[in-house]
Point group: C2
Chain length 325, copies 2
Protein backbone atom coordinates (compact mmCIF):
# COMPACT_ATOMS: atom_id res chain seq x y z
CA UNK A 1 0.00 0.00 0.00
CA UNK A 2 1.35 3.48 -0.77
CA UNK A 3 1.97 6.09 1.90
CA UNK A 4 -1.17 7.45 3.54
CA UNK A 5 -1.82 10.80 5.13
CA UNK A 6 -3.76 9.73 8.19
CA UNK A 7 -5.51 12.03 10.63
CA UNK A 8 -6.80 10.75 13.97
CA UNK A 9 -8.97 12.39 16.61
CA UNK A 10 -7.59 11.22 19.93
CA UNK A 11 -8.37 11.03 23.60
CA UNK A 12 -5.90 9.46 26.02
CA UNK A 13 -4.85 5.92 26.82
CA UNK A 14 -7.06 3.95 24.41
CA UNK A 15 -6.27 6.22 21.49
CA UNK A 16 -2.55 6.31 22.25
CA UNK A 17 -2.33 2.54 22.41
CA UNK A 18 -4.27 2.17 19.15
CA UNK A 19 -2.02 4.72 17.44
CA UNK A 20 1.13 2.78 18.36
CA UNK A 21 -0.40 -0.11 16.40
CA UNK A 22 -1.34 2.17 13.53
CA UNK A 23 2.20 3.55 13.34
CA UNK A 24 3.70 0.07 13.50
CA UNK A 25 1.41 -1.18 10.75
CA UNK A 26 2.03 1.80 8.48
CA UNK A 27 5.79 1.73 8.98
CA UNK A 28 5.80 -1.90 7.87
CA UNK A 29 3.17 -1.89 5.16
CA UNK A 30 2.52 1.68 4.00
CA UNK A 31 5.95 3.34 3.82
CA UNK A 32 5.79 7.10 3.33
CA UNK A 33 2.73 7.42 5.55
CA UNK A 34 2.28 10.38 7.90
CA UNK A 35 0.08 10.69 10.95
CA UNK A 36 -1.52 13.82 12.34
CA UNK A 37 -3.14 13.42 15.75
CA UNK A 38 -5.73 15.96 16.83
CA UNK A 39 -5.77 15.67 20.60
CA UNK A 40 -8.53 16.39 23.06
CA UNK A 41 -7.69 19.29 25.38
CA UNK A 42 -11.00 19.49 27.24
CA UNK A 43 -9.42 17.44 30.06
CA UNK A 44 -6.76 20.13 30.55
CA UNK A 45 -6.54 21.63 34.00
CA UNK A 46 -4.41 23.92 36.10
CA UNK A 47 -2.73 22.28 39.07
CA UNK A 48 -0.62 24.40 41.41
CA UNK A 49 -0.47 27.05 38.72
CA UNK A 50 0.76 24.56 36.12
CA UNK A 51 -1.03 23.76 32.89
CA UNK A 52 -1.61 20.01 32.62
CA UNK A 53 -2.77 18.47 29.34
CA UNK A 54 -3.48 14.85 30.27
CA UNK A 55 -4.56 13.56 26.85
CA UNK A 56 -1.86 15.35 24.85
CA UNK A 57 0.76 14.03 27.25
CA UNK A 58 -0.56 10.49 27.13
CA UNK A 59 -0.33 10.49 23.34
CA UNK A 60 3.09 12.19 23.39
CA UNK A 61 4.61 9.90 26.00
CA UNK A 62 3.10 6.75 24.47
CA UNK A 63 4.15 7.43 20.89
CA UNK A 64 7.53 8.71 22.14
CA UNK A 65 8.26 5.60 24.18
CA UNK A 66 8.20 7.30 27.57
CA UNK A 67 4.84 6.20 28.91
CA UNK A 68 4.38 4.05 32.00
CA UNK A 69 3.92 0.67 30.34
CA UNK A 70 1.38 -0.79 32.78
CA UNK A 71 -0.89 2.13 33.52
CA UNK A 72 -0.73 3.57 30.00
CA UNK A 73 -0.44 7.19 31.17
CA UNK A 74 2.23 9.15 33.00
CA UNK A 75 5.93 8.44 32.74
CA UNK A 76 7.84 5.21 33.08
CA UNK A 77 10.14 5.00 36.10
CA UNK A 78 8.23 7.81 37.74
CA UNK A 79 8.81 9.21 41.23
CA UNK A 80 6.58 11.44 43.34
CA UNK A 81 8.96 13.51 45.45
CA UNK A 82 7.49 16.91 44.54
CA UNK A 83 3.93 15.72 45.17
CA UNK A 84 4.97 14.44 48.60
CA UNK A 85 6.40 17.86 49.40
CA UNK A 86 3.29 19.64 48.16
CA UNK A 87 1.30 17.43 50.51
CA UNK A 88 3.68 18.34 53.35
CA UNK A 89 2.77 22.00 52.70
CA UNK A 90 -0.88 20.97 52.94
CA UNK A 91 -1.81 22.36 49.55
CA UNK A 92 -4.66 20.91 47.51
CA UNK A 93 -5.50 19.03 45.40
CA UNK A 94 -3.82 15.79 46.34
CA UNK A 95 -5.99 13.53 44.18
CA UNK A 96 -4.18 14.11 40.88
CA UNK A 97 -1.04 12.00 40.43
CA UNK A 98 1.73 14.45 39.62
CA UNK A 99 4.96 12.58 39.00
CA UNK A 100 8.35 14.29 39.01
CA UNK A 101 9.16 13.43 35.40
CA UNK A 102 5.69 14.40 34.26
CA UNK A 103 5.92 17.65 36.19
CA UNK A 104 8.82 18.88 34.07
CA UNK A 105 6.51 18.74 31.03
CA UNK A 106 3.93 20.87 32.83
CA UNK A 107 6.59 23.37 33.92
CA UNK A 108 7.95 23.79 30.40
CA UNK A 109 4.42 23.99 28.95
CA UNK A 110 3.26 26.56 31.48
CA UNK A 111 6.28 28.78 30.99
CA UNK A 112 6.00 28.63 27.19
CA UNK A 113 2.26 29.39 27.36
CA UNK A 114 3.29 32.80 28.67
CA UNK A 115 4.32 33.65 25.14
CA UNK A 116 3.05 31.02 22.73
CA UNK A 117 -0.23 29.27 21.95
CA UNK A 118 -0.73 25.66 23.06
CA UNK A 119 -0.22 24.37 19.51
CA UNK A 120 3.28 25.89 19.35
CA UNK A 121 4.06 24.68 22.85
CA UNK A 122 2.89 21.17 21.99
CA UNK A 123 5.06 21.16 18.88
CA UNK A 124 8.05 22.25 20.97
CA UNK A 125 7.46 19.51 23.57
CA UNK A 126 7.02 16.95 20.80
CA UNK A 127 10.45 17.76 19.36
CA UNK A 128 11.77 15.73 22.27
CA UNK A 129 9.31 12.86 21.95
CA UNK A 130 8.20 12.49 18.35
CA UNK A 131 11.41 13.14 16.40
CA UNK A 132 12.16 9.46 15.83
CA UNK A 133 8.80 7.77 15.37
CA UNK A 134 8.59 5.00 12.77
CA UNK A 135 6.51 7.28 10.54
CA UNK A 136 6.34 11.09 10.92
CA UNK A 137 3.83 12.04 13.62
CA UNK A 138 2.43 15.49 14.35
CA UNK A 139 0.37 16.18 17.49
CA UNK A 140 -2.04 19.11 17.36
CA UNK A 141 -4.28 20.24 20.20
CA UNK A 142 -7.88 20.52 19.02
CA UNK A 143 -7.83 24.20 19.96
CA UNK A 144 -5.55 26.85 21.41
CA UNK A 145 -8.55 28.21 23.30
CA UNK A 146 -9.75 27.03 26.67
CA UNK A 147 -12.40 24.33 26.44
CA UNK A 148 -13.09 22.46 29.66
CA UNK A 149 -15.36 19.53 30.36
CA UNK A 150 -17.38 20.08 33.52
CA UNK A 151 -19.63 17.54 35.16
CA UNK A 152 -22.74 18.37 37.17
CA UNK A 153 -22.99 16.16 40.25
CA UNK A 154 -24.90 16.15 43.51
CA UNK A 155 -22.77 15.19 46.49
CA UNK A 156 -22.38 16.20 50.13
CA UNK A 157 -21.74 19.76 48.97
CA UNK A 158 -24.98 19.90 47.00
CA UNK A 159 -25.56 20.13 43.25
CA UNK A 160 -22.57 21.64 41.52
CA UNK A 161 -20.37 21.53 38.44
CA UNK A 162 -16.86 20.17 38.90
CA UNK A 163 -13.95 19.79 36.51
CA UNK A 164 -14.05 16.53 34.60
CA UNK A 165 -10.75 15.43 36.11
CA UNK A 166 -12.11 15.83 39.63
CA UNK A 167 -15.09 13.66 38.75
CA UNK A 168 -12.99 11.13 36.86
CA UNK A 169 -9.95 10.90 39.11
CA UNK A 170 -11.06 11.97 42.57
CA UNK A 171 -14.59 10.56 42.47
CA UNK A 172 -13.70 7.69 40.10
CA UNK A 173 -16.91 8.61 38.20
CA UNK A 174 -18.89 6.93 40.99
CA UNK A 175 -21.12 9.91 41.63
CA UNK A 176 -23.62 9.99 38.74
CA UNK A 177 -22.98 12.70 36.15
CA UNK A 178 -26.26 14.57 35.81
CA UNK A 179 -24.96 16.64 32.97
CA UNK A 180 -21.71 17.06 31.03
CA UNK A 181 -20.96 20.56 29.80
CA UNK A 182 -18.17 21.77 27.53
CA UNK A 183 -17.27 25.16 28.94
CA UNK A 184 -15.87 27.45 26.26
CA UNK A 185 -16.54 25.12 23.34
CA UNK A 186 -18.80 27.53 21.48
CA UNK A 187 -16.17 30.27 21.41
CA UNK A 188 -13.22 28.01 20.64
CA UNK A 189 -11.44 28.02 17.31
CA UNK A 190 -9.69 24.97 15.86
CA UNK A 191 -5.92 25.14 16.40
CA UNK A 192 -3.80 25.97 13.35
CA UNK A 193 -3.56 22.95 11.06
CA UNK A 194 -6.58 21.12 12.46
CA UNK A 195 -9.07 21.83 9.69
CA UNK A 196 -6.44 21.32 7.03
CA UNK A 197 -5.39 17.98 8.52
CA UNK A 198 -9.02 16.85 8.34
CA UNK A 199 -9.64 18.22 4.84
CA UNK A 200 -6.44 17.02 3.19
CA UNK A 201 -5.93 13.53 4.62
CA UNK A 202 -6.43 10.17 2.91
CA UNK A 203 -8.06 8.50 5.92
CA UNK A 204 -9.65 9.90 9.05
CA UNK A 205 -9.63 7.62 12.08
CA UNK A 206 -11.52 7.66 15.36
CA UNK A 207 -9.46 5.45 17.69
CA UNK A 208 -11.24 3.68 20.58
CA UNK A 209 -11.63 6.78 22.75
CA UNK A 210 -14.35 7.90 25.11
CA UNK A 211 -17.08 9.15 22.75
CA UNK A 212 -18.48 11.69 25.21
CA UNK A 213 -15.43 13.34 26.76
CA UNK A 214 -12.65 12.62 24.23
CA UNK A 215 -14.00 12.42 20.68
CA UNK A 216 -17.02 14.57 21.62
CA UNK A 217 -15.02 17.68 22.60
CA UNK A 218 -12.83 17.53 19.49
CA UNK A 219 -15.93 17.42 17.28
CA UNK A 220 -17.53 20.20 19.37
CA UNK A 221 -14.91 22.76 18.40
CA UNK A 222 -16.82 24.90 15.88
CA UNK A 223 -15.86 23.92 12.36
CA UNK A 224 -14.39 20.51 13.16
CA UNK A 225 -17.53 18.39 12.79
CA UNK A 226 -18.32 20.22 9.54
CA UNK A 227 -14.78 19.63 8.29
CA UNK A 228 -15.07 15.91 9.02
CA UNK A 229 -18.43 15.74 7.23
CA UNK A 230 -17.18 17.54 4.14
CA UNK A 231 -13.77 15.87 3.95
CA UNK A 232 -13.48 13.53 0.99
CA UNK A 233 -11.42 11.12 3.11
CA UNK A 234 -13.21 8.03 4.42
CA UNK A 235 -13.89 8.22 8.15
CA UNK A 236 -13.53 5.02 10.14
CA UNK A 237 -13.99 4.46 13.85
CA UNK A 238 -12.97 1.68 16.23
CA UNK A 239 -15.58 0.95 18.86
CA UNK A 240 -14.50 1.80 22.41
CA UNK A 241 -17.31 -0.47 23.66
CA UNK A 242 -16.99 -4.25 23.61
CA UNK A 243 -19.91 -6.41 24.62
CA UNK A 244 -21.69 -3.57 26.36
CA UNK A 245 -18.67 -2.50 28.43
CA UNK A 246 -15.93 0.07 27.85
CA UNK A 247 -12.58 -1.33 26.67
CA UNK A 248 -11.08 0.69 29.49
CA UNK A 249 -12.03 3.59 31.72
CA UNK A 250 -15.53 4.50 32.74
CA UNK A 251 -17.10 5.53 29.45
CA UNK A 252 -20.36 3.92 30.56
CA UNK A 253 -20.74 6.61 33.25
CA UNK A 254 -20.31 9.29 30.60
CA UNK A 255 -22.70 7.65 28.15
CA UNK A 256 -25.32 7.34 30.87
CA UNK A 257 -25.04 11.10 31.49
CA UNK A 258 -25.89 11.87 27.88
CA UNK A 259 -28.63 9.23 27.69
CA UNK A 260 -26.80 6.87 25.36
CA UNK A 261 -26.73 3.12 25.90
CA UNK A 262 -23.30 1.56 26.48
CA UNK A 263 -23.14 -0.42 23.26
CA UNK A 264 -21.06 -0.42 20.10
CA UNK A 265 -24.20 0.35 18.11
CA UNK A 266 -25.38 3.23 20.25
CA UNK A 267 -21.95 4.90 20.12
CA UNK A 268 -21.90 4.55 16.32
CA UNK A 269 -25.28 6.29 16.27
CA UNK A 270 -23.68 9.32 18.00
CA UNK A 271 -21.44 9.74 14.99
CA UNK A 272 -23.45 8.50 11.97
CA UNK A 273 -23.28 11.94 10.37
CA UNK A 274 -19.48 11.80 10.27
CA UNK A 275 -18.61 8.09 10.08
CA UNK A 276 -18.26 5.92 7.00
CA UNK A 277 -17.07 2.78 8.75
CA UNK A 278 -17.22 1.29 12.25
CA UNK A 279 -15.10 -1.57 13.45
CA UNK A 280 -16.67 -3.61 16.27
CA UNK A 281 -15.62 -6.57 18.36
CA UNK A 282 -16.79 -10.06 17.53
CA UNK A 283 -18.85 -9.84 20.72
CA UNK A 284 -20.91 -7.18 18.94
CA UNK A 285 -21.27 -8.98 15.60
CA UNK A 286 -25.02 -9.03 16.14
CA UNK A 287 -25.02 -5.27 15.61
CA UNK A 288 -23.63 -5.50 12.06
CA UNK A 289 -27.03 -5.50 10.30
CA UNK A 290 -28.17 -2.50 12.34
CA UNK A 291 -24.91 -0.67 11.54
CA UNK A 292 -25.43 -1.44 7.90
CA UNK A 293 -28.95 -0.04 8.16
CA UNK A 294 -27.40 3.17 9.50
CA UNK A 295 -25.41 3.36 6.27
CA UNK A 296 -22.13 2.37 7.88
CA UNK A 297 -19.63 -0.11 6.51
CA UNK A 298 -18.76 -2.38 9.37
CA UNK A 299 -17.15 -5.63 10.32
CA UNK A 300 -16.27 -7.40 13.52
CA UNK A 301 -12.98 -8.75 14.83
CA UNK A 302 -11.10 -9.13 18.11
CA UNK A 303 -10.72 -5.56 19.41
CA UNK A 304 -8.80 -6.21 22.64
CA UNK A 305 -5.45 -4.43 22.25
CA UNK A 306 -3.64 -7.06 24.28
CA UNK A 307 -0.25 -6.74 22.62
CA UNK A 308 1.54 -4.78 19.92
CA UNK A 309 0.87 -7.31 17.21
CA UNK A 310 -2.87 -7.46 17.86
CA UNK A 311 -3.06 -3.69 18.08
CA UNK A 312 -1.29 -3.30 14.72
CA UNK A 313 -3.67 -5.83 13.24
CA UNK A 314 -6.71 -3.91 14.57
CA UNK A 315 -5.29 -0.74 13.01
CA UNK A 316 -4.73 -2.56 9.71
CA UNK A 317 -8.34 -3.74 9.69
CA UNK A 318 -9.56 -0.21 10.45
CA UNK A 319 -7.60 1.14 7.50
CA UNK A 320 -8.88 -1.67 5.29
CA UNK A 321 -12.47 -0.94 6.29
CA UNK A 322 -11.92 2.72 5.43
CA UNK A 323 -10.15 2.23 2.13
CA UNK A 324 -11.46 -1.04 0.74
CA UNK A 325 -15.03 -0.34 1.57
Amino acid sequence: MPGLRITALAGGVGAARFLTGLIEHCAAHCPGSELTVIGNTADDLRLFGLHVSPDLDTVMYTLGGGVHPDQGWGRAEESFVVQGELAAYGVEPQWFALGDRDLATHIVRTQMLGGYPLSDVTAALCRRWLADTAIPVRLLPMSDDRVETHVVVTDEQGRRAIHFQEWWVRLRARVPAEQIALVGAEQARPAPGVLDAIASCDVLVFPPSNPVVSIGPVLAVPGVREAVTTSTAPVVGVSPIIGGRPVRGMADACLQAVGVETSALAVAEMFTDVLDGWLVDDADAAALPALSALGLRSRSRDLWMRDRQTTASIAADALALALDG
Copy 2:
Protein backbone atom coordinates in the same frame (compact mmCIF):
# COMPACT_ATOMS: atom_id res chain seq x y z
CA MET B 1 18.73 36.49 81.29
CA PRO B 2 15.09 37.41 80.58
CA GLY B 3 13.46 36.82 77.23
CA LEU B 4 14.72 39.02 74.42
CA ARG B 5 12.99 40.28 71.31
CA ILE B 6 15.76 39.80 68.77
CA THR B 7 15.71 41.00 65.19
CA ALA B 8 18.29 39.82 62.66
CA LEU B 9 19.04 40.96 59.11
CA ALA B 10 19.93 37.81 57.22
CA GLY B 11 21.47 36.57 54.02
CA GLY B 12 21.77 32.86 53.33
CA VAL B 13 24.00 30.08 54.61
CA GLY B 14 26.21 32.02 57.07
CA ALA B 15 23.29 33.82 58.63
CA ALA B 16 21.16 30.70 58.85
CA ARG B 17 23.91 28.74 60.56
CA PHE B 18 24.53 31.59 63.03
CA LEU B 19 20.82 31.85 63.78
CA THR B 20 20.61 28.16 64.71
CA GLY B 21 23.20 28.94 67.38
CA LEU B 22 21.33 32.04 68.47
CA ILE B 23 18.10 30.08 68.83
CA GLU B 24 19.86 27.31 70.73
CA HIS B 25 21.49 29.77 73.09
CA CYS B 26 18.28 31.72 73.74
CA ALA B 27 16.18 28.62 74.27
CA ALA B 28 18.64 27.48 76.95
CA HIS B 29 19.55 30.77 78.58
CA CYS B 30 16.94 33.44 77.70
CA PRO B 31 13.56 31.66 77.89
CA GLY B 32 10.73 33.72 76.46
CA SER B 33 12.89 35.12 73.68
CA GLU B 34 11.53 35.67 70.19
CA LEU B 35 13.40 36.02 66.92
CA THR B 36 12.38 37.99 63.86
CA VAL B 37 14.51 37.41 60.77
CA ILE B 38 14.43 40.01 58.01
CA GLY B 39 15.63 38.11 54.96
CA ASN B 40 17.39 39.35 51.87
CA THR B 41 15.28 38.92 48.73
CA ALA B 42 17.60 40.63 46.25
CA ASP B 43 18.89 37.18 45.25
CA ASP B 44 15.39 36.15 44.19
CA LEU B 45 14.97 35.01 40.63
CA ARG B 46 12.49 33.42 38.27
CA LEU B 47 13.45 30.02 36.95
CA PHE B 48 11.16 28.26 34.47
CA GLY B 49 8.41 30.64 35.52
CA LEU B 50 8.86 29.80 39.21
CA HIS B 51 9.75 32.34 41.89
CA VAL B 52 12.85 31.21 43.76
CA SER B 53 13.91 32.96 46.99
CA PRO B 54 17.31 31.41 47.76
CA ASP B 55 18.07 33.28 50.98
CA LEU B 56 14.58 33.00 52.49
CA ASP B 57 14.59 29.28 51.73
CA THR B 58 18.04 28.74 53.20
CA VAL B 59 16.93 30.37 56.46
CA MET B 60 13.60 28.53 56.45
CA TYR B 61 15.07 25.10 55.70
CA THR B 62 17.96 25.56 58.13
CA LEU B 63 15.90 26.76 61.08
CA GLY B 64 13.21 24.21 60.23
CA GLY B 65 15.63 21.28 60.18
CA GLY B 66 15.23 20.48 56.49
CA VAL B 67 18.43 21.88 55.06
CA HIS B 68 21.11 19.80 53.37
CA PRO B 69 23.53 19.41 56.27
CA ASP B 70 26.78 19.51 54.30
CA GLN B 71 26.15 22.21 51.73
CA GLY B 72 24.07 24.40 54.04
CA TRP B 73 21.47 25.25 51.41
CA GLY B 74 18.84 23.24 49.57
CA ARG B 75 17.06 20.26 51.03
CA ALA B 76 18.42 17.19 52.77
CA GLU B 77 17.94 13.92 50.87
CA GLU B 78 17.39 15.85 47.67
CA SER B 79 16.86 14.39 44.21
CA PHE B 80 17.04 16.06 40.80
CA VAL B 81 14.55 14.19 38.63
CA VAL B 82 12.67 17.26 37.42
CA GLN B 83 15.87 19.11 36.56
CA GLY B 84 17.06 16.13 34.54
CA GLU B 85 13.80 16.19 32.59
CA LEU B 86 14.02 19.94 32.00
CA ALA B 87 17.49 19.33 30.59
CA ALA B 88 16.07 16.59 28.35
CA TYR B 89 13.70 19.23 26.93
CA GLY B 90 16.75 21.40 26.31
CA VAL B 91 15.42 24.37 28.28
CA GLU B 92 17.75 26.84 29.99
CA PRO B 93 19.15 27.64 32.46
CA GLN B 94 20.80 24.45 33.65
CA TRP B 95 23.30 26.11 36.01
CA PHE B 96 20.95 26.56 38.97
CA ALA B 97 20.52 23.46 41.12
CA LEU B 98 16.80 22.86 41.32
CA GLY B 99 16.07 19.87 43.54
CA ASP B 100 12.74 18.08 43.54
CA ARG B 101 12.00 18.79 47.20
CA ASP B 102 13.08 22.40 46.85
CA LEU B 103 10.97 22.75 43.72
CA ALA B 104 7.76 22.15 45.64
CA THR B 105 8.50 25.26 47.69
CA HIS B 106 8.90 27.32 44.52
CA ILE B 107 5.70 25.90 43.07
CA VAL B 108 3.67 26.75 46.17
CA ARG B 109 5.29 30.19 46.43
CA THR B 110 4.68 31.02 42.78
CA GLN B 111 1.07 29.96 42.88
CA MET B 112 0.38 31.92 46.08
CA LEU B 113 2.12 35.01 44.67
CA GLY B 114 -0.74 35.12 42.18
CA GLY B 115 -2.90 36.43 44.99
CA TYR B 116 -0.76 37.34 47.99
CA PRO B 117 2.37 39.42 48.68
CA LEU B 118 5.67 37.64 49.33
CA SER B 119 5.44 38.35 53.07
CA ASP B 120 2.13 36.47 53.34
CA VAL B 121 3.45 33.67 51.16
CA THR B 122 6.59 33.38 53.27
CA ALA B 123 4.50 33.22 56.43
CA ALA B 124 2.40 30.45 54.87
CA LEU B 125 5.46 28.43 53.85
CA CYS B 126 6.97 28.91 57.31
CA ARG B 127 3.92 27.39 58.98
CA ARG B 128 5.38 24.09 57.83
CA TRP B 129 8.97 24.80 58.87
CA LEU B 130 9.00 27.19 61.80
CA ALA B 131 6.07 25.98 63.92
CA ASP B 132 8.24 24.03 66.34
CA THR B 133 11.43 26.03 66.71
CA ALA B 134 13.00 26.18 70.19
CA ILE B 135 11.96 29.82 70.47
CA PRO B 136 9.31 31.48 68.27
CA VAL B 137 10.79 32.53 64.93
CA ARG B 138 9.23 34.80 62.33
CA LEU B 139 10.74 35.16 58.85
CA LEU B 140 9.97 38.39 56.97
CA PRO B 141 11.19 39.23 53.48
CA MET B 142 12.87 42.65 53.47
CA SER B 143 10.29 43.83 50.92
CA ASP B 144 7.28 42.61 48.99
CA ASP B 145 8.54 44.59 46.02
CA ARG B 146 11.01 43.35 43.47
CA VAL B 147 14.60 44.25 44.28
CA GLU B 148 17.25 42.42 42.29
CA THR B 149 21.01 42.49 42.54
CA HIS B 150 22.61 42.75 39.13
CA VAL B 151 26.30 42.54 38.41
CA VAL B 152 28.08 44.32 35.56
CA VAL B 153 30.67 42.06 33.95
CA THR B 154 32.66 41.95 30.74
CA ASP B 155 32.83 38.49 29.22
CA GLU B 156 32.77 36.92 25.78
CA GLN B 157 29.40 38.58 25.19
CA GLY B 158 30.78 42.04 26.00
CA ARG B 159 30.00 44.36 28.89
CA ARG B 160 26.60 43.60 30.37
CA ALA B 161 24.59 43.35 33.55
CA ILE B 162 23.60 39.87 34.67
CA HIS B 163 21.50 38.63 37.57
CA PHE B 164 23.52 38.14 40.74
CA GLN B 165 22.75 34.42 40.77
CA GLU B 166 24.15 33.97 37.29
CA TRP B 167 27.37 35.67 38.34
CA TRP B 168 27.52 33.82 41.66
CA VAL B 169 26.42 30.35 40.60
CA ARG B 170 27.16 30.03 36.89
CA LEU B 171 30.35 32.12 36.81
CA ARG B 172 31.37 31.27 40.40
CA ALA B 173 32.16 35.01 40.79
CA ARG B 174 35.32 34.42 38.76
CA VAL B 175 34.60 37.16 36.23
CA PRO B 176 35.31 40.45 38.03
CA ALA B 177 32.24 42.42 39.08
CA GLU B 178 32.73 45.91 37.68
CA GLN B 179 29.64 47.21 39.40
CA ILE B 180 26.89 45.85 41.60
CA ALA B 181 23.48 47.44 41.17
CA LEU B 182 20.31 46.96 43.18
CA VAL B 183 17.56 47.13 40.59
CA GLY B 184 14.31 48.38 42.10
CA ALA B 185 15.75 49.22 45.52
CA GLU B 186 14.83 52.89 45.38
CA GLN B 187 11.15 52.17 44.78
CA ALA B 188 10.86 49.27 47.22
CA ARG B 189 8.94 49.52 50.47
CA PRO B 190 9.81 47.51 53.56
CA ALA B 191 7.54 44.49 53.94
CA PRO B 192 4.83 44.69 56.64
CA GLY B 193 6.40 44.23 60.07
CA VAL B 194 9.97 45.03 59.03
CA LEU B 195 10.24 48.55 60.41
CA ASP B 196 8.36 47.61 63.55
CA ALA B 197 10.61 44.58 64.14
CA ILE B 198 13.61 46.92 63.95
CA ALA B 199 12.08 49.65 66.11
CA SER B 200 10.63 47.48 68.84
CA CYS B 201 13.30 44.84 69.43
CA ASP B 202 15.71 44.53 72.36
CA VAL B 203 18.71 43.57 70.22
CA LEU B 204 19.42 43.93 66.54
CA VAL B 205 21.88 41.45 65.06
CA PHE B 206 23.82 41.34 61.81
CA PRO B 207 24.83 37.68 61.42
CA PRO B 208 27.96 36.88 59.40
CA SER B 209 26.44 37.51 55.98
CA ASN B 210 27.84 38.97 52.80
CA PRO B 211 27.94 42.72 53.50
CA VAL B 212 27.49 43.75 49.87
CA VAL B 213 24.80 41.45 48.51
CA SER B 214 23.02 40.21 51.68
CA ILE B 215 23.09 42.85 54.45
CA GLY B 216 23.54 45.66 51.90
CA PRO B 217 20.24 45.07 50.06
CA VAL B 218 18.24 44.81 53.29
CA LEU B 219 19.64 48.17 54.45
CA ALA B 220 19.06 49.62 50.98
CA VAL B 221 15.29 49.26 51.20
CA PRO B 222 14.20 52.84 51.82
CA GLY B 223 13.46 53.36 55.50
CA VAL B 224 15.35 50.34 56.83
CA ARG B 225 18.75 51.92 57.38
CA GLU B 226 17.04 54.90 59.07
CA ALA B 227 15.01 52.56 61.27
CA VAL B 228 18.17 50.75 62.36
CA THR B 229 19.89 54.06 63.14
CA THR B 230 17.00 55.40 65.18
CA SER B 231 16.15 52.15 66.98
CA THR B 232 16.97 52.29 70.67
CA ALA B 233 18.08 48.64 70.53
CA PRO B 234 21.81 47.98 70.46
CA VAL B 235 23.03 46.79 67.06
CA VAL B 236 25.72 44.15 67.00
CA GLY B 237 27.37 42.49 64.04
CA VAL B 238 29.41 39.34 63.61
CA SER B 239 32.23 39.74 61.10
CA PRO B 240 31.85 37.62 57.95
CA ILE B 241 35.56 38.14 57.30
CA ILE B 242 38.22 36.22 59.23
CA GLY B 243 41.89 36.97 58.70
CA GLY B 244 41.24 38.76 55.43
CA ARG B 245 39.11 36.00 53.92
CA PRO B 246 35.37 35.34 53.84
CA VAL B 247 34.10 32.75 56.32
CA ARG B 248 32.41 31.17 53.33
CA GLY B 249 31.34 32.12 49.83
CA MET B 250 33.03 34.71 47.68
CA ALA B 251 32.37 37.92 49.59
CA ASP B 252 35.86 39.15 48.63
CA ALA B 253 34.77 39.36 44.98
CA CYS B 254 31.79 41.50 46.04
CA LEU B 255 33.85 43.75 48.31
CA GLN B 256 36.35 44.31 45.53
CA ALA B 257 33.52 45.48 43.28
CA VAL B 258 32.54 48.20 45.74
CA GLY B 259 36.13 49.16 46.51
CA VAL B 260 36.21 47.80 50.05
CA GLU B 261 39.12 45.82 51.41
CA THR B 262 38.38 42.24 52.50
CA SER B 263 38.96 42.76 56.20
CA ALA B 264 36.90 42.67 59.38
CA LEU B 265 37.71 46.34 59.92
CA ALA B 266 36.79 47.52 56.44
CA VAL B 267 33.44 45.74 56.59
CA ALA B 268 32.71 47.35 59.97
CA GLU B 269 33.42 50.71 58.37
CA MET B 270 30.62 50.05 55.84
CA PHE B 271 28.17 49.97 58.74
CA THR B 272 29.57 52.35 61.39
CA ASP B 273 26.46 54.53 61.12
CA VAL B 274 24.25 51.64 62.20
CA LEU B 275 26.48 49.40 64.35
CA ASP B 276 27.11 49.64 68.08
CA GLY B 277 29.21 46.50 68.42
CA TRP B 278 31.29 44.28 66.11
CA LEU B 279 32.48 40.81 66.98
CA VAL B 280 35.68 39.74 65.21
CA ASP B 281 37.80 36.64 65.13
CA ASP B 282 40.95 36.32 67.20
CA ALA B 283 42.83 36.48 63.90
CA ASP B 284 41.61 40.08 63.63
CA ALA B 285 42.34 41.13 67.21
CA ALA B 286 44.79 43.71 65.87
CA ALA B 287 41.82 45.65 64.51
CA LEU B 288 40.24 46.16 67.95
CA PRO B 289 41.85 49.58 68.61
CA ALA B 290 40.82 50.84 65.19
CA LEU B 291 37.25 49.54 65.77
CA SER B 292 37.23 51.34 69.10
CA ALA B 293 38.39 54.51 67.35
CA LEU B 294 35.35 54.13 65.06
CA GLY B 295 33.18 54.25 68.18
CA LEU B 296 32.35 50.55 68.09
CA ARG B 297 32.37 48.20 71.05
CA SER B 298 34.27 45.15 69.93
CA ARG B 299 35.98 42.03 71.05
CA SER B 300 37.58 39.05 69.44
CA ARG B 301 36.95 35.33 69.78
CA ASP B 302 36.94 32.19 67.66
CA LEU B 303 34.33 32.87 64.95
CA TRP B 304 34.49 29.61 63.00
CA MET B 305 31.00 28.05 63.28
CA ARG B 306 32.39 24.55 63.27
CA ASP B 307 29.69 22.90 65.35
CA ARG B 308 26.43 23.73 67.14
CA GLN B 309 28.06 24.36 70.48
CA THR B 310 30.61 26.82 69.07
CA THR B 311 27.93 28.56 67.02
CA ALA B 312 25.71 28.97 70.09
CA SER B 313 28.71 30.35 71.98
CA ILE B 314 29.42 32.88 69.20
CA ALA B 315 25.78 33.97 69.35
CA ALA B 316 26.00 34.28 73.15
CA ASP B 317 29.06 36.51 72.83
CA ALA B 318 27.35 38.65 70.20
CA LEU B 319 24.37 39.18 72.54
CA ALA B 320 26.70 39.93 75.43
CA LEU B 321 28.58 42.50 73.36
CA ALA B 322 25.29 44.14 72.48
CA LEU B 323 23.74 44.13 75.93
CA ASP B 324 26.64 44.34 78.36
CA GLY B 325 28.53 46.97 76.48
